[in-house]
Symmetry: C2
Subunit: 333 residues, 2 copies
């Protein structure tokens, strides 16, 4: 299958040009691959910076704007941004209140964001980070714990709203750690995806197979299984997550039913209905749903589920106004 | 590739259950496959009803809510809703100001919406329709003129806002006819899609082939071509549309860069950048962009472009508050 691209080494720059044209509130630094708010946040608001490999859109660049990120830096497809890029993103938006980095738990991202944080601090900028490692399948793989998945979207929304509300850098770190303990994800893949430079699918799946515990880089999961019904898949995801999440009885959740990029919305809402049933049957309840393709793996078919135990604080920040390319609500016209 | 469904004849009902759980502002009549606003529009607002085959989500059910549709009725996948369903949708939301039907130009839809309108009128409801037939490739096919494509999204947004603003049924019909003359679409496919009941792809495409002038039901287009760059594709779409749209020099547009369901956002924004360049090079300008998968063909890879010549009235209604599952902006918290 062909792709809607020009030169395959220029995809990220071409994407950024289109993003800027489409969203006049954003500006881009093409050379350093940084997307940032055209109008900087005012006063002593902590600036939020995230980033990572490209190919997961709308994450992160689609979450730049009022109520979420101040800047996002984009690596090449499925490749960490360099420390230099991250430093430029930090410098672009830093304020006297400091900068919070939201970093997904992948070795390259962790390393490069750490180097960048050290450099920025040497230049007098106050920098702290929150690592997102919500994937319950990650612990079953020979890797460094849970990978960063859908909880990243929740962290960017909730911490973004808290920062907009004047929360301090220390407060945001604490809230970020709290989110980490209360949120978990898992995904399944129904097809591979094709890295534009490699040009061939990363792996092959049989017609009736799914890859359980898939990552977001087209990498295989921790086991292969026969494809079941939406109900089977919902049960598998809910059970796997609840087994790792120390959620008390009658918990309530914010739920992300996320498409991996190539799964149509009709299937995601079928899954939302089944996930709802699974949670209710276990005595839990759901406060908010977000259904759509928010953290993707190019055109991979499949979905991931993220459950975040909600409380008054997280709901308040979840419901707060947001105005970004991908999430947009509650902002007066 | 497997699908995230249960029983393949129950997809639409399962989807509706998930939609209702996820969006508390909506209610559903599962038996008649109608999605409608839980809180009806007040007073003498004209009610807007649309619908069609399923498999194009978020169209139409994802556009039910404040500022867009009052109700949508869902046929089976790629199948027109029955007159009975449409009558139920009309009855559910009709007001003394009347009901406007937004109908995509497909033989089954046209026939069933007409029958439903007649029945509702016999029951004393004032009903008018606008037919959307914006596909420029449609005229090259042995069909009844242009098929309804991306202009449907614009019509639902702009007429929805105008209705919310108190426009009369006659006024809405006139504005709808005006939109028809000012908007055109065309699409290309890079893969087929698989109807869940048929279980096999509707057609096969070679690795480097695209289907030009694709419809939204997995049907082939009017010719097959070699896949080119994003720039080539943007040029083809812009030229084809401008050849059919009597747009004066230095026109300005509202632009929809639409994914067919299986194309990742990174590619759609690459296309947005190229389409922008093509329009600017021809002396035109763009007032607003909408980039995303809004009228889809299950998991088909590909995209469509819709150009609507903008003016002060259409921009006013485009920018007006909207609160639906798929489009959501400018509504105070």
């Amino acid at each position: 299958m062909s792709k809607l691209i020009n030169n395959k080494t220029e995809i990220v720059a071409d994407f950024m040009r289109g993003l800027k044209q489409s969203h006049p509130d954003l500006d881009v630094d093409i050379e350093n691959r940084v997307v940032y708010r055209k109008t900087p946040a005012v006063g002593d608001k902590v600036a939020l910076v995230s980033g990572g490999g490209s190919g997961h859109e709308p994450l992160h660049s689609g979450f730049v704007g009022l109520g979420m990120l101040d800047a996002a830096c984009m690596g090449e497809v499925f490749t960490s941004p360099t420390p230099q890029q991250i430093v430029r993103a930090i410098e672009k938006v830093s304020t006297s209140a400091g900068v919070l980095l939201i970093v997904k738990n992948y070795a390259g991202d962790i390393m490069n964001f750490e180097i960048a944080a050290e450099r920025a601090e040497r230049n007098g900028i106050k920098v702290r980070s929150v690592t997102i490692d919500d994937d319950v399948a990650g612990g079953k793989l020979p890797s460094d714990g849970g990978r960063g998945m859908g909880l990243t979207v929740f962290a960017e929304k909730i911490l973004g709203a808290a920062a907009e509300n004047g929360m301090s850098l220390d407060g945001l770190c604490e809230l970020g750690q709290d989110l980490r303990t209360r949120g978990r994800s898992m995904g399944i893949g129904m097809s591979s995806c094709t890295h534009p430079v490699a040009g061939v699918p990363t792996f092959e799946l049989g017609e009736d197979e799914i890859e359980v515990g898939i990552g977001i880089h087209g990498e295989p999961g921790w086991r292969r299984a026969r494809a079941g019904s939406a109900q089977d898949t919902a049960k598998l995801l809910v059970e796997s997550i609840l087994a790792e999440l120390a959620a008390p009885e009658q918990s309530s959740f914010i739920v992300l039913v996320n498409g991996m990029g190539g799964t149509p919305l009709i299937e995601l809402y079928v899954m939302a209905g089944e996930i709802h049933r699974e949670l209710i049957e276990r005595g839990h309840s759901v406060d908010r749903y977000l259904v759509g393709s928010h953290i993707t793996s190019l055109e991979m078919a499949g979905c991931s589920l993220t459950l975040l135990q909600s409380d008054a604080e997280s709901l308040k920040y979840w419901d707060a106004p947001v105005s970004t390319p991908a999430l947009n609500w509650g902002v007066a016209a």
